[in-house]
C-alpha cells in the first residue's frame, strides 16, 4: 500500500502543479488519472478518537479530509459550500443530531453520497441506514481497507444522475453529457480545484450551458428549495401525476436555468416518495426515509404549514386573533408568491385528514380532501372529531388522536400537513396544554409539537426520518389544512420546506408539509434527545385526528419548551423568528428546524438552540415558525386556494393515504417508548 500510495501521491503532486499552470481540460485529465485521490470527504463523528483515526486513514488513502465532531457544524459546512465535498461519512449516534437525520438532510439538500458508520451492527440499525438512503454502512472499528473503496459511491451516484438525465427524455443531450460526465466524474472528484472552478462557473451560468462545456466536470447540482419544489409539485399536479413528464413540468415551472434532467431526477425521487406513501406498508420507515431526504429541500413549505396551523389554531380559538395575525404576517409572510398555490396543497392535506377520520389510510380520502378546499378544522375533521374538539383543541390527546387518525388516513396529504399539525397536535395531546388554548401553555405545546410533528408523520413524509415517522402517523394533521389559513401557511413557505413538500406534491402548500416531515425527524431527534417526548407519542396515536388541532395549539404554544420542538418548527422560522421575538417565544427552542431560514431563522436558530434540541434543520423552518408562532397567524394568505379543484391531488392523496397506513407502522423507528402505532390504521 505504501508504495502505491507514494506513487499516487507523487503523481498527484505533479498533476496539481500542472493543473495550476495549465489548461483546465488537461488538468482535469490529469486529475482523472489520480482519482480517487483527492476525493473530498467530510467525516462527522462525536467520538474524538474515532474521528482522528478516520481522518488519518482517509489521508492515507489520499483523500482530502475535513473532520467535524458535530452534525450541525457539518451541515452548515455543507450548506456553505455545496459543491465542496464529494462524500460524507457520518456516525449514527451523535449527541446533537441523529445521524439518520443528518443523512436525510444531506440527501435532500445536497444530494451527496453518505456513508453511515457505527459500532452498532444490529440489523435494525443497518436497515435504517438503507431506508434513509445511506449508500453504505460501515461497522466500527473501521479499517482502512473499507475506506479505500468509498470513492465507488461517488462514481455510482454520478452515473445514476446521468441515467436520470437520460431517462428524462433528453437523450441526445444525455448521451453527450453522459460521455462528458463519465470522463468528468473521475476527474472532477480528483481534480478538486479544477472542478470547483468549473462548477462555480457552471453554477453561475445556465445549467444547460454547462452541458455544452466539455470541460465541465460535473453535472451541476440543483438545490430543490422549498419554492422550487412547490412549483414542481404544482406543475405535477396540474399535469396529473401520471402524465407529468419532465419536459412538460419544466415548461410549466418556467424556471430559468432549470434543466429537464434536474426535473427528471427530482421527479423520480418524487415518484418514489409517492410510491412509498401508497404502497410501502410493509416497510416501516421506508417511506419516511426515502422521502424525507428529498423533503429536506422542501422544508420551506413547512413554514407555510405553520401558517395553516396558526390559522387552525386561530380558528379553534386557541390562538388569539391578534397573535394569529402577527404570526401570519411575520412568519407566514415568507413565501409571498406561493401562498396561493401552497395553500391548496395544504388544504388538501388537511382535508384529507379531516375528512376521513375514519378512513384512516388513503381510502379515497384523497378525493375528499382534494375537493375540500375549505378546510377548516371543523370541516376537516368530520366524523371522528367533534367540532368542538377542534375548536377547543382541548382535547389534546383525544383530539389529537382523532385528528391524527384523520390525518393518517389522508396519508399523503396529511403527511404534509401533519408535520405541522402533528406538531401542533402533539402539544395538545401531551399536556393538555392546549386545552385552554392558552398560548401561555405554549411551552407545553412545544414539546408536544415536537412529537406531533413526528406523529403526524405527515404520513408520507415522515416515515423516513427517525423522528418523522411519527409525523406520518399523524394524518390528523390534515385538519390543520382544513383551516384554509393553515394551508396557506405552508404554501408561503414553499421555499422553505425542502423535504416536506415533496409528498404533498399537490400544492406548494402541501409541499411545505412535507418538509415538515423531514422536519419531524428533526423533531424526533430532538425529541428523542429530550426524552420527554415519549409521552407525546402515545398521545400521538390518538391524536391522529387531533393533529390539526394540536397544531394550532402548538402554534399557540409557541412558548412551550420549544427546545424540543422548536427545532422542527424552525423551518418556518424566518417568520417565526420575528414572531417569536414578539411573542417572547423561547427562541431557544426554535432552533433546530429552521431550514428555510433565511437569515432570520439563523438567528433564531442560534437563540433557539439554547434548548439544545435545535436541529439544524433549517429546512423545517416552516414548522418551527409555526410552532413558535403559535399565536401568530401564520398566514394571511390563506387558504382559499389551498386545494384548487384542478389539483390533481386525488392521486397523490390516495397515494399518500395509503402511505399513511404504511407509515404508521413505520413509526417504530422512532424509538419512542410510548409511541404506539396502534392507533393508526394501517
Amino acid at each position: 500500500m505504501n508504495s502505491s500510495i507514494g506513487k499516487a501521491y507523487m503523481s498527484t503532486a505533479s498533476s496539481s502543479a500542472g493543473r495550476k499552470a495549465g489548461d483546465a481540460a488537461a488538468a482535469a485529465a490529469a486529475a482523472a488519472d489520480q482519482f480517487p485521490a483527492g476525493l473530498r470527504v467530510l467525516v462527522v463523528d462525536d467520538d474524538p478518537t474515532c474521528l482522528m483515526i478516520l481522518e488519518k486513514m482517509l489521508r492515507t488513502c489520499l483523500y482530502e479530509v475535513t473532520k467535524c465532531n458535530r452534525a450541525e457544524t457539518a451541515l452548515s459546512m455543507l450548506r456553505e459550500n455545496k459543491n465542496g465535498f464529494d462524500v460524507v461519512i457520518s456516525d449514527v449516534h451523535m449527541p446533537d443530531m441523529d445521524g439518520f437525520k443528518l443523512l436525510e438532510h444531506i440527501g435532500l439538500e445536497m444530494d451527496l453520497p453518505v456513508i453511515m458508520m457505527s459500532a452498532d451492527d444490529g440489523k435494525h440499525v443497518v436497515m435504517k441506514g438503507v431506508t434513509h438512503g445511506a449508500c453504505d454502512y460501515l461497522i466500527k472499528p473501521v479499517r482502512i481497507e473499507a475506506l479505500k473503496n468509498i470513492w465507488q459511491h461517488v462514481v455510482r451516484k454520478r452515473k445514476n444522475e446521468w441515467k436520470d438525465f437520460e431517462q428524462s427524455g433528453s437523450v441526445e443531450e444525455g448521451d453527450r453529457q453522459l460521455k462528458q460526465s463519465e470522463d468528468a466524474d473521475y476527474s472532477s472528484s480528483a481534480n478538486e480545484g479544477n472542478w470547483k472552478s468549473s462548477k462555480r462557473r457552471k453554477d453561475d451560468e445556465d445549467e444547460t450551458d454547462e452541458r455544452d462545456d466539455t470541460s465541465s466536470l460535473k453535472k451541476p447540482r440543483v438545490v430543490w428549495s422549498v419554492e422550487l419544489h412547490q412549483q414542481f409539485v404544482a406543475a405535477v399536479n396540474q399535469l396529473g401525476i401520471d402524465k407529468a413528464v419532465p419536459k412538460k413540468i419544466l415548461e410549466l415551472m418556467n424556471v430559468p436555468g432549470l434543466t429537464r434532467e434536474n426535473v427528471a431526477s427530482h421527479l423520480q425521487k418524487y415518484r418514489l416518495y409517492l410510491r412509498r406513501l401508497s404502497g410501502v406498508s410493509q416497510h416501516p420507515g421506508n417511506l419516511n426515509n426515502s422521502f424525507m431526504s428529498p423533503q429536506e429541500a422542501t422544508f420551506g413549505p413547512l413554514s407555510s404549514l405553520s401558517g395553516l396551523d396558526l390559522q387552525t389554531l386561530a380558528a379553534t380559538g386557541q390562538l388569539p386573533a391578534q397573535s394569529l395575525v402577527t404570526l401570519q404576517s411575520s412568519g407566514l409572510g415568507r413565501p409571498t408568491g406561493k401562498s396561493g398555490i401552497p395553500m391548496p396543497l395544504i388544504d388538501q392535506r388537511n382535508i384529507f385528514s379531516f375528512e376521513n377520520p375514519k378512513l384512516r389510510f388513503g381510502e379515497g380520502q384523497q378525493q375528499h380532501v382534494n375537493n375540500n378546499k375549505q378546510m377548516n378544522l371543523l370541516h376537516g375533521i368530520p366524523t371522528t372529531m367533534e367540532p368542538k374538539q377542534l375548536a377547543g383543541l382541548h382535547h389534546g390527546a383525544q383530539s389529537m388522536g382523532n385528528m391524527n387518525m384523520q390525518v393518517a388516513s389522508h396519508g399523503s396529504q396529511s403527511s404534509q400537513n401533519n408535520p405541522l399539525l402533528m406538531q401542533m397536535a402533539q402539544p395538545q395531546a401531551r399536556g393538555q396544554m392546549l386545552n385552554d388554548s392558552s398560548l401561555g401553555h405554549a411551552p407545553r405545546l412545544l414539546s408536544p409539537m415536537g412529537q406531533p410533528m413526528l406523529s403526524n408523520g405527515i404520513a408520507a413524509n415522515v416515515p423516513t426520518r427517525n423522528g418523522i415517522q411519527e409525523n406520518i402517523r399523524a394524518p390528523s394533521y390534515n385538519p390543520v389544512p382544513q383551516t384554509s389559513s393553515m394551508l396557506n401557511f405552508p404554501m408561503n413557505h414553499a421555499s422553505e420546506l425542502p423535504g416536506n413538500s415533496y409528498p404533498l406534491g399537490s400544492t406548494p402548500g402541501i409541499s411545505s408539509l412535507t418538509p415538515k416531515v423531514a422536519f419531524r425527524e428533526d423533531v424526533n431527534s430532538d425529541i428523542k434527545g429530550s426524552v420527554g417526548f415519549l409521552p407525546s407519542y402515545d398521545i400521538f396515536n390518538d391524536l391522529d385526528h387531533h393533529k390539526p388541532q394540536n397544531w394550532e395549539l402548538q402554534n399557540v404554544g409557541m412558548t412551550f419548551d420549544a427546545s424540543q420542538h422548536s427545532n422542527s418548527l424552525q423551518g418556518n422560522l424566518n417568520h417565526a423568528q420575528s414572531v417569536l421575538v414578539q411573542q417572547g417565544f423561547s427562541s431557544g427552542q426554535m432552533n433546530g428546524q429552521n431550514r428555510s431560514a433565511t437569515v432570520v431563522s439563523k438567528t433564531m436558530f442560534s437563540s433557539g438552540d439554547s434548548t439544545g434540541h435545535v436541529n439544524a434543520q433549517n429546512g423545517n423552518q416552516p414548522l418551527n415558525s409555526l410552532l413558535v408562532d403559535g399565536t401568530v397567524r401564520v398566514k394571511s394568505e390563506t387558504p382559499t386556494n389551498l386545494y384548487p379543484d384542478d389539483f390533481g391531488q386525488e392521486d397523490l392523496m390516495s397515494a399518500l393515504l395509503k402511505q399513511q397506513d404504511v407509515i404508521a407502522p413505520a413509526e417504530h423507528e422512532f424509538d419512542f417508548d410510548g409511541y404506539s402505532l396502534d392507533n393508526i390504521p394501517v
Binding site: 474515532c50 482522528m52 488519518k56 456516525d91 426524552v531
Partner: protein, 154 residues
C-alpha cells in the same frame, strides 16, 4: 540497554498484549498509520482515547448513581466507549462494553453496576499496558532506533 534489545523487548511485550487479548488487530492498523509525517500518531490517538474514556467512565458512574437511572443515557455512553475502544483496538474494554450494553437493555441496576466496575477495571489495565508500550517505543526512538512493525500474522 541498547536499541536492538529494546526493540526486542517491545516486540515481545506487544505480542503478549495481543495474546492476552488486551489489544487486537485494530491496534496494528493504528501503528501502520504512523509514518514519518505523523511520528506521534499512535501516542496522540491513545492519549485522546484515555481522555475521552475517562470522561465517559465518569459520566457512567454519575448516571448509574442516580436514584432513577436513565438506561438510555447509560447505554449511549457505553456505546460510545465501545466505539472508541474498538477503534483503538482495546479488545477487552470493548468486550466489557458489549456485556454492559446487554445489561443496560435489561435495565438491571446491579448487573450494570458490576459491568461498570468491570469496564473500569479493563480500562485501567489496558491504559497501563499501553502506557508501558508507548514508553518503550519512546525510549527506542530516543536512542535513535526505529519502532519495529509487529507481524502478528493477522
Amino acid at each position: 540497554m541498547e536499541v536492538g534489545q529494546m526493540q526486542r523487548r517491545l516486540v515481545d511485550y506487544t505480542k503478549t498484549l495481543f495474546m492476552e487479548g488486551f489489544l487486537d488487530a485494530q491496534f496494528l492498523q493504528l501503528q501502520q498509520l504512523q509514518d514519518e509525517n505523523n511520528p506521534d500518531f499512535v501516542v496522540e490517538v491513545v492519549s485522546l482515547f484515555f481522555d475521552d474514556s475517562e470522561k465517559l467512565l465518569n459520566n457512567l458512574s454519575m448516571a448509574l448513581d442516580q436514584p432513577n437511572v436513565d438506561f438510555k443515557k447509560v447505554d449511549a455512553h457505553v456505546h460510545q466507549l465501545k466505539g472508541s475502544s474498538s477503534s483503538i483496538g482495546a479488545q477487552r474494554v470493548k468486550n466489557a462494553c458489549i456485556a454492559f450494553r446487554n445489561f443496560c437493555e435489561e435495565q438491571n441496576i446491579d448487573a450494570t453496576l458490576r459491568c461498570l466496575q468491570q469496564v473500569k477495571h479493563e480500562y485501567y489495565l489496558v491504559k497501563n499496558k499501553l502506557e508501558t508500550l508507548l514508553r518503550l517505543e519512546q525510549q527506542i526512538v530516543a536512542a535513535g532506533g526505529s519502532i519495529p512493525m509487529i507481524d502478528m500474522g493477522f
